[in-house]
């Protein structure tokens, strides 16, 4: 008990320490090497998981069980960057079978360890989020970076790592901090995080939707029937610019719709269809103002391969 109080004290002191990390359970490289310091309900982890020293310094946490990080405070609508190094053994890795890339955004029975975000309001009730979950498909240690926004009403969050039976996850250097870079309101506008990172994408309508690389190695979003971005906040009336770059596979056009939501994420309306055709030379810019009662928006894109979806305030483009 005393030990736990001491750890808590250290934890609280740690919160006042590093100003860039939102909490000191992140960014310390697991130096405390104690599951209770980082996770909740850590009893099973103490028996089955282990902290290992890396040859290069630092500590790796290895676990065959799922685990939950402790809650940390967040601010609504703030953009965050989560990064960690991870690998898994037990599931067929991406290095062994590149076809496993199709499993990264699979919701049902994912074969890989998956990191999910859980958000809570002031009353500690779960708050819905449309951020993607992040699968860990690699067999060799690799850095993963994910960007997301805290949803409306969120005051705290925690990371949840689920590890399928028969698989072991290795995790190190977990960092979570506010992200200040990037002028677009939406996340990952040019899919620069690579073909295995679905940050900024909320959903696909069918199984053919995925990220793919062109011959130059640049990542594009293939929407399948349609894909939907995460919701992004519209803090002012605008005007805003929506830019879409890409091509369509059905009837030589790309149709997009802006969907608007109120402060509680309840849908308030949609824009007319915005169409990109070969005549637009593969770039479309649509100017709009925030409709009444709208506080958020998302973009739905149909039948397309997209290299960019970006929303900015018009004054930032000048």
């Amino acid at each position: 008990m005393l030990r736990r109080l001491l750890i808590l004290l250290l934890f609280l002191c740690g919160c006042a320490g590093d100003a860039t990390e939102i909490s000191d359970i992140y960014g310390d490289g697991f130096r405390k090497k104690d599951p209770d310091a980082y996770f909740i309900n850590a009893g099973g982890l103490k028996k089955r998981s282990v902290f290992l020293e890396k040859d290069t310094g630092g500590v790796v946490f290895r676990s065959p069980l799922s685990f939950l990080f402790r809650e940390v405070p967040v601010k609504t609508d703030t953009k965050y960057r989560l990064s960690f190094s991870a690998c898994q053994e037990g599931a067929e890795s991406l290095e062994e079978n590149p076809g496993m890339g199709g499993k990264i955004f699979a919701h049902r029975e994912n074969v890989f360890p998956v990191c999910r975000l859980q958000f809570f309001n002031r009353g500690k009730k779960r708050v819905p989020s449309d951020a993607a979950f992040f699968a860990i498909p690699f067999g060799k240690m690799k850095e993963h970076v994910f960007l997301f926004r805290a949803p409306p009403g969120a005051e705290s969050m925690r990371l949840s790592f689920s590890v399928p039976k028969g698989v072991r996850l290795s995790l190190s250097d977990v960092c979570l901090r506010e992200e200040t870079e990037g002028k677009t309101l939406n996340i990952n506008p040019r899919f620069e995080l690579g073909p295995y990172n679905y940050s900024g994408i909320s959903a696909f309508n069918d199984k053919s939707g995925r990220l793919i690389a062109d011959r130059n190695g640049r990542t594009h979003l293939f929407t399948g029937f349609y894909a939907v971005t995460n919701r992004f906040p519209l803090k002012s009336e605008g005007p805003y610019l929506l830019k879409v770059r890409g091509s369509g596979y059905y009837k030589k056009r790309v149709d997009s719709i802006l969907t608007f939501y109120d402060a509680a994420w309840k849908k308030t309306g949609t824009s007319p269809v915005i169409r990109l055709t070969p005549q637009n030379q593969e770039t479309l810019v649509f100017r709009f103002v925030r409709p009444p009662q709208a506080a958020y928006a998302s973009v739905t894109i149909y039948h397309a391969t997209i290299s960019e979806i970006s929303i900015v305030r018009e004054e930032e483009e000048k």
Binding site: G99, R108, R215, H220, K251, L258, G269, T270, P272, V289
Partner: protein, 762 residues
């Protein structure tokens, strides 16, 4: 003894020859066709058409004359001019419509009506009643079936028919200027077949002149007005400015400009339109300026207040706004065009009956599209309550002013499905009868022409190959919806297919059975044919019809239908794996059994990056599938001059070099197999490679510009029972020559992996 039979025989012959007029004898003409020298084009056409078909049937070319001549015993008079002194009662009866009459007096036959096109109806009816001819489809070479008869006698010489509706025709869409389709429509009593004649021919068939439609730009085109008069166009709250997509319906200057432009346009037409429709674009977008969103004062007091900015959420408000505009236009146009019917669009938001009254000049083009149940009549209790209510309310408030605009034969944006005539029997005929009971002006339906040209990704002709019978029955029901569609169907099948009529009837009966069995489901090919188990029986009936057909055009139409059947089946997911005897040498690459296998080829690169274009794969791949009832055999041939394989691993591993992967999907289960030409192989169930299917790679080799593999997969591993179609999976084959950026692999037809895949059948 002989005399006893001779007398009745003579009586018999006399009875049947009484009233018959000899038109040709032994291939020689015995009649003239008379048409006035300056007769309208449609009557001239009737004369030429009659002469053409009599020549085709009998070999005799009847002279066409312009007045009575005595060199032939019989004269067939065409046109009102000849008939009006002789058949005054009939002329009076037909006045004001496009009904037709066939009459005879002595050795003269008269074909006429009040309008020129009626003579063409009469000429076609005369041929149809007195020979076994049918114009089954527009195709000029193979669309008509008749028997040759060098000695032609016409016995049916008295007919008078009037159409049920003022409007009974077709908007021929997708491919314009298809004259054979216009002629087919005319012979089958349509009075509109939009833009089927060449421009220079004008209105050669005297069709109704129906103009307008999506005409906002006729009122004020953005190219001309947007720069200097943006206030003519709709305001968008989303963009904060005027946009050219729609018009501002409350702008008084726009109204005057619109009326001026429309009047100019109508005056420039060769003929004043019979019907002019004031319609908007295919869009829900409406002006969102303050005036266009303001409360609308209603007749009799009260105000209509808008509930939403979105016309999809509040169609009543936006419909009322639109119909007020239509009233204003029609009221002004009517002064200059008193004979023209003006219509508005009962379409998109305009489908909701408005709160305003309609100007007496206005009728409604009621267009039930979007959310309509394709199985049930519009007034049936199983129909969408929204559409049922709308039609009832339109009719209650504006009786006799609602005509139907439908899409009975418009597949332009997708492939035609072979649906038989069940929808006509169970829905369309009832809609038309209800329309007649409502005294509606009529029915106009879209129709794609019988043309080799493509629209979207298929030829228009393929739609006729799949569904000629339904177009013909519809044409007859447009004329008279009281007729029995089943009787019409049988008439069509007997005339068109003759010796093959019985198996064709069986084919359509089976389609109907599938339709009834799938009640409650969307009436498409998959639900009515595949899932009801009708597929094999239907196809067998078609094959029997093909064997029985004797007339070359009957045979041609059956074969075209059969080809479409196979295409639709393949496209909608019925790739049948042939079953062979177990004695066959499946393990031999060169075994003859693979000649009869299901072939999967035409591998293409999916169109991710180039607007959907799917270029052929750099190297060909082919898979041939067979089964012996317990095992699925797949022979793969993958061309490549120098394939790069992963080193032979000796145990199960994903082949990272040139390889083929095969995925079977059933519900939530994905069975994956991969093989290369170097002995590497892999199988997994839902990405779990610990799963073992018990499959074998019977052989693999490479050389001579290709590598090959022979696989044997137990059907049990895929949980397939050949007698139970519910256990059949969908499948996809992907060929990958290497992994890397921009190398997505190739698939049959360039289908995107993950999209709904083709189903296998056993």
């Amino acid at each position: 003894m002989k005399c006893r039979f001779l007398l009745p025989l003579l009586g018999f012959c006399l009875y049947f020859s009484a009233g018959a007029l000899e038109i040709t004898r032994d291939g020689k003409p015995r009649a003239n066709i008379a048409v006035a020298r300056n007769a309208p084009d449609a009557e001239q056409f009737a004369a030429r058409d009659l002469r053409h078909w009599i020549r085709e049937i009998s070999g005799a070319e009847l002279p066409v004359v312009h007045e009575m001549k005595h060199d032939m015993p019989v004269t067939i008079f065409i046109g009102k001019k000849f008939a009006e002194q002789v058949w005054k009662k009939e002329i009076a009866d037909l006045r004001g419509g496009d009904g037709f009459a066939i009459r005879s007096k002595g050795k003269h036959i008269y074909l006429f009506g009040d309008v020129p096109r009626a003579s063409a109806y009469a000429a076609a009816a005369l041929l149809e009643k007195n020979t076994d001819i049918i114009w089954a489809r527009p195709d000029e070479k193979t669309g008509c079936v008749f028997s040759r008869n060098p000695s032609l006698n016409f016995r049916v010489l008295s007919m008078l028919e009037k159409p049920a509706f003022l409007l009974h025709g077709w908007n021929v869409v997708a491919v314009r200027r298809d004259r054979p389709t216009g002629i087919w429509a005319l012979r089958n009593r349509g009075n509109w077949a939009d833009q089927t004649s060449p421009v220079r021919a004008g209105n050669e068939f005297d069709f109704l002149n129906c103009e307008g439609g999506h005409i906002y730009w006729w009122m004020a085109h953005p190219d001309r007005y947007f720069k200097n008069s943006p206030e003519f166009f709709g305001y968008s709250r989303l963009t904060g400015k005027r946009e050219p997509e729609t018009l501002c319906l409350t702008n008084p200057e726009l109204l005057e400009t619109a009326v001026g432009n429309l009047k100019k346009r109508l005056k420039a037409f060769r003929e004043t339109p019979d019907l002019f429709t004031i319609g908007f674009r295919d869009s829900w977008t409406m002006c969102q300026c303050e005036k266009c969103l303001a409360p609308i004062p209603l007749p009799g007091g009260g105000t209509l207040i808008r509930k939403s900015d979105d016309p999809q959420v509040d169609p009543l408000y936006f419909s009322t706004r639109y119909w007020i505009f239509v009233n204003q236009i029609a009221r002004r146009m009517k002064r200059d065009f008193p004979e023209t019917l003006f219509a508005g669009y009962g379409y998109f938001y305009g489908a909701e009956p408005p709160m305003c009254e309609l100007d007496p000049a206005v009728i409604v083009s009621f267009c039930p599209i979007g959310g309509v149940n394709a199985r049930y009549p519009l007034l049936d209790k199983r129909q969408s309550p929204v559409w049922r209510r709308r039609l009832k309310e339109w009719n209650r408030r504006f009786p006799g002013r609602i005509f139907l605009y439908e899409y009975y034969r418009s597949y332009a944006s997708s492939f035609a499905e072979i649906s038989g005539v069940s929808v006509i029997e169970r829905k369309i005929v009832h809609d038309l009868r209800a329309l007649k009971a409502m005294n509606g002006p009529g029915i106009l339906s879209e129709l794609t022409p019988d043309s080799e040209k493509k629209f979207s990704d298929h030829t228009m002709k393929s739609e006729w190959d799949a569904n000629s019978v339904s177009a013909w029955i519809l044409a007859r029901l447009f004329w008279n919806p009281a007729q029995d569609p089943r009787a019409l169907r049988d008439y069509y099948l007997e005339r068109t297919f003759r010796e093959a009529a019985a198996p064709m009837k069986e084919f359509y009966d089976l389609l109907d059975k599938g339709f009834r069995k799938s009640d409650g489901k969307r009436p498409n090919f998959v639900n009515t044919v595949i899932h009801t188990g009708m597929e094999k029986k239907c196809f067998d009936a078609l094959c029997r019809a093909e064997r029985a057909a004797k007339h070359p055009n009957s045979l041609s139409m059956i074969r075209a239908l059969k080809t479409q059947w196979q295409l639709v089946r393949g496209r909608l997911g019925m790739n049948s794996v042939p079953r062979m005897d177990q004695e066959e040498k499946f393990t031999d690459f060169h075994a003859t059994c693979y000649e009869s296998a299901l072939i999967v080829d035409d591998f293409r690169i999916p169109g991710y990056f180039n607007w959907g274009k799917t270029p052929p794969a750099p190297h060909k791949t082919e898979a041939r599938l067979l089964t012996d009832g317990t095992t699925l055999y797949i022979r793969i041939t993958a061309e490549h001059p120098s394939p790069v394989f992963m080193a032979e691993s000796g145990s199960e591993a994903w082949p990272l070099g040139d390889h083929v992967e095969i995925r079977f999907e059933k519900g939530a289960r994905t069975y994956c197999f991969a093989v290369d030409g170097n002995g590497n192989h892999y199988d997994s169930l839902n990405s779990d490679r610990r799963w073992s299917s018990g499959w074998k790679v019977l052989a693999s080799d490479s050389g001579g510009g290709a590598w090959r593999a022979l696989l044997a997969i137990p059907l049990k591993a895929l949980e397939i029972e050949p007698e139970n179609r519910k256990t059949f999976p969908s499948f996809l084959i992907i060929r990958r020559e290497k992994y890397g950026a921009g190398t997505p692999g190739s698939t049959p037809g360039g289908v995107f992996p993950g999209k709904r895949q083709a189903a296998l059948a056993f």
